[in-house]
């Protein structure tokens, strides 16, 4: 009985002392954290994708409160969440346009190869050797570095084909853009439906030799466009999404079928209705 009592008293005493010490320490050494950071962090999605330019959601929240970062940089937040954050911060912010990743090449297996690559299956490693095994030096290499880099599993690929972007999952965080050694992936507005799927800066004759589907710079889409949203820069068709009305005339006009409708019509019309 005495043993039990003694051990109880000793252990209880140690526990009590430690508790008191911790209580004092938590008061004395308390880190004053702005309560706003916690609220903002709760409003943020917590995916730590890095799309805002900060390494984690916490870092972004901290920077918003202390460093004055804009509250609209999160690619995942909807208008409601951004509104919540700007309420906490007391400054108004316009919601940024939602973006989506799009791949500017779909040559895949039709692109002519210049040699057999037997090294590490990684685009960045393959591009170290003569810029990859595709004869077209602007082509997607198809080893899927972007697929691995995507924190939302929005990209999928089969074989050496160019990856496919899932509209439901892609948030436009830009991690895939950063890892692509060929700069084939671009972020385009989510509302846009016209996407030009060729990255080549070569002239039409060269493109014909190296790829069955590449843009041959025939300018037909540019002539057809009623809003003059399309233009030719370095033998590459560029699109100004602020002018584009998604009429789809260029899609019909393109002889190589590289202008794609990436946004299903229903979604586009829904966006217009809203």
């Amino acid at each position: 009985m005495a043993v039990v009592l003694v051990s109880l008293i000793i252990l209880g005493g140690i526990g009590l002392l430690c508790g008191i010490a911790l209580a004092i320490a938590s008061r004395v050494f308390a880190v004053k954290l702005d309560p706003r950071i916690e609220i903002i962090e709760k409003a943020l999605p917590g995916a730590n994708c890095g799309g805002c330019g900060f390494p984690s959601c916490h870092a972004y929240a901290q920077n918003m409160v202390e460093g004055g970062a804009e509250p609209n940089r999160c690619v995942l937040c909807d208008a409601e969440a951004v509104g919540k954050i700007s309420n906490v911060l007391g400054k108004a912010a316009a919601t940024i346009e939602k973006k989506i990743a799009a791949i500017k090449c779909y040559g895949g297996s039709t692109a002519v190869k210049s040699f057999d690559y037997g090294g590490i299956p990684s685009c960045r490693a393959a591009s170290l050797y003569s810029g990859g095994d595709k004869l077209c030096s602007y082509s997607c290499l198809g080893f899927g570095d972007c697929v691995e880099a995507c924190p939302f599993s929005a990209l999928s690929r089969s074989g050496r084909e160019a990856p496919i972007v899932s509209r439901d999952r892609c948030t436009g965080c830009g991690n895939c853009v950063a890892v692509c050694p060929k700069n084939v992936i671009v972020l385009i507005p989510r509302k846009a439906s016209i996407h030009i799927a060729c990255n080549s800066k070569e002239k039409g004759k060269v493109v014909r030799q190296v790829c069955e589907v590449g843009c041959i710079s025939c300018n037909r889409c540019i002539k057809k466009c009623p809003e003059s949203a399309l233009s030719m820069q370095d033998n590459r068709v560029c699109i100004d999404y602020s002018k584009c009305t998604s009429c789809g005339l260029c899609i019909e006009e393109c002889p190589r079928k590289i202008i794609k409708d990436i946004n299903p019509r229903e979604e586009a019309s829904r966006a217009v209705n809203q």
Binding site: F115, D116, G118, G119, R124, A125, L128, S130, G131
Partner: protein, 452 residues
């Protein structure tokens, strides 16, 4: 790697030399080529200055362009006489489009007016002497020379043959030993060096004798022997091994570090000083299973690789893999139209590099690391390749740097000995590129492979 395909899974720690194919055969001289292509860029962003236009006729040894930024730019010369038929971006062996001058030969090799540069006449003005070297197109480490005010305490000449199959250094010493020493003497005088070390392998005893007799009257030059060959990239390891200077593993350059000089540069200095000929010719070994007549050939700089392979009796249609350099460190080539560049030591052409239907090598299928530490034993730079490869694979680049990825000399021995067939060399190169975060590093890595 052809000739390296494992018949048995276990291989020796050191690769076979295969030198017997070419070492005892006399070297040949290639005739006047139909066409030469002289690239004027080393990386895709090197500045260059083209001095000729399309349609102009040039003579052998005529200056046709400048490579690099003005204080350290080197002249490029026409290596044959003929007509310039194309000026513009053409494929370079390092895998990018370089500004080049293509010359269609007239089959005469008319020499331009040449005057030998005489170091004694130039006198004490060192900058003028090195300017003359640059005019002659001799590749030297000019950045280091200009940085140190043309004073280098010691020179290091690595004459060991690290690459299997390649024996061009051996041949160069055997045939032109006197000239090499002559070039080295001029260079010693030019950078007021107190010593110059020529490193040869212990088993190349005939070379030691040739060099000893050639350097009898030059007390500054010492011949040292080492047991195993060192790659060109491992100059600081060699320095350490021979205790030439206090060298540590850091990337910074110390004032006492020796300058490593290439054998072909020494020969070019000799030719420039006594014959007045600029750097237009070099010795390369052509070997490999795709070559009928493996041999050493004196080839003009800028000759397309296809001509060299044809000269040695290889049939291009049967070739599976061609690398500029040896089988371990060489740069794989995608096209045989690319020209031979300065300082390339050899051309390795193999018949087959077998792939299965998934385009994966049947013999070199990667399996998990079994931590046997063979790569650690083989590494001349004393790093732990398997650990670093693990970090690079998992994108822990900070750790990879801490474990010494930049000490890697890219010799490829780790990849050669790996029983799990892990492409360690490729992973190291990838890791370096990811750490530096620049595309142009590719070309620089490959240049280092050639000992640039």
């Amino acid at each position: 790697m052809d000739g390296f395909l494992p018949t048995f899974i276990r291989r020796t720690q050191t690769p076979p030399t295969f030198g017997e194919f070419t070492r005892d055969r006399p070297s040949s001289k290639m005739g006047i080529p139909e066409r030469v292509v002289v690239p004027l860029q080393d990386t895709h962003d090197t500045p260059c200055d083209i001095m000729v236009q399309e349609g102009e006729s040039v003579r052998l040894g005529q200056k046709i362009g400048l490579m690099g930024k003005p204080p350290v730019s080197v002249c490029a010369h026409a290596s044959t006489s003929g007509k310039v038929d194309r000026v513009g971006p053409l494929p370079h062996p390092l895998g990018f489009l370089a500004q080049s001058v293509s010359i269609l030969s007239d089959g005469k090799d008319d020499l331009d007016d040449l005057t030998p540069l005489n170091p004694k006449k130039i006198g004490d003005d060192k900058s003028r002497l090195f300017e003359a070297f640059r005019e002659m197109g001799i590749p030297l480490n000019y950045e280091l020379l200009y940085g140190r005010g043309f004073k280098v305490s010691s020179l290091l000449v690595n004459a060991t043959e690290f690459e299997p199959y390649i024996t061009s250094k051996h041949h160069m010493i055997k045939e032109r030993g006197q000239d090499l020493v002559g070039g080295l003497r001029v260079l010693i005088g030019a950078c007021s060096a107190s010593q110059a070390v020529i490193v040869v392998e212990k088993r190349q005893s005939s070379l030691v004798n040739i060099l000893r007799s050639a350097t009898k009257e030059v007390p500054e030059i010492t011949i040292k022997t080492v047991l195993r060959p060192y790659p060109e990239t491992a100059a600081n390891l060699l320095t350490q091994k021979l205790s030439l200077a206090k060298s540590n593993h850091s990337k910074s350059v110390h004032a006492g570090d020796p300058m490593s000089v290439d054998l072909s540069s020494l020969l070019a200095i000799n030719n420039a000083c006594f014959l007045g000929v600029p750097f237009v010719e070099q010795l390369v070994t052509v070997a490999g299973s795709g070559i009928k007549d493996p041999q050493n050939v004196w080839v003009k700089t800028g000759v397309p690789l296809l001509h060299i392979i044809n000269h040695a009796g290889g049939s291009p249609s049967r070739l599976g893999r061609v690398t500029l350099g040896g089988p371990l460190m060489g740069i794989p080539q995608q096209s045989l139209e690319v020209p031979l560049i300065k300082r390339a030591k050899g051309l390795f052409a193999a018949t087959a590099f077998l792939f299965d239907e998934h385009r994966e090598s049947r013999f070199y299928k990667r399996t998990p690391c079994i931590k046997c530490a063979k790569c650690v034993d083989a590494c001349p730079a004393s790093i732990i390749p398997n650990a670093i490869a693990d970090y690079v694979d998992n994108e822990l680049l900070g750790d990879a740097e801490q474990w010494g990825i930049f000490r890697c000399v890219e010799c490829g021995l780790c990849e050669y000995v790996c029983p799990s067939r892990i492409p360690l060399l490729e992973i190291m190169r990838l890791g370096k590129v990811l750490l530096k975060g620049e595309e142009s590093l590719l070309a620089r890595i490959n240049l280092k492979t050639l000992g640039w």
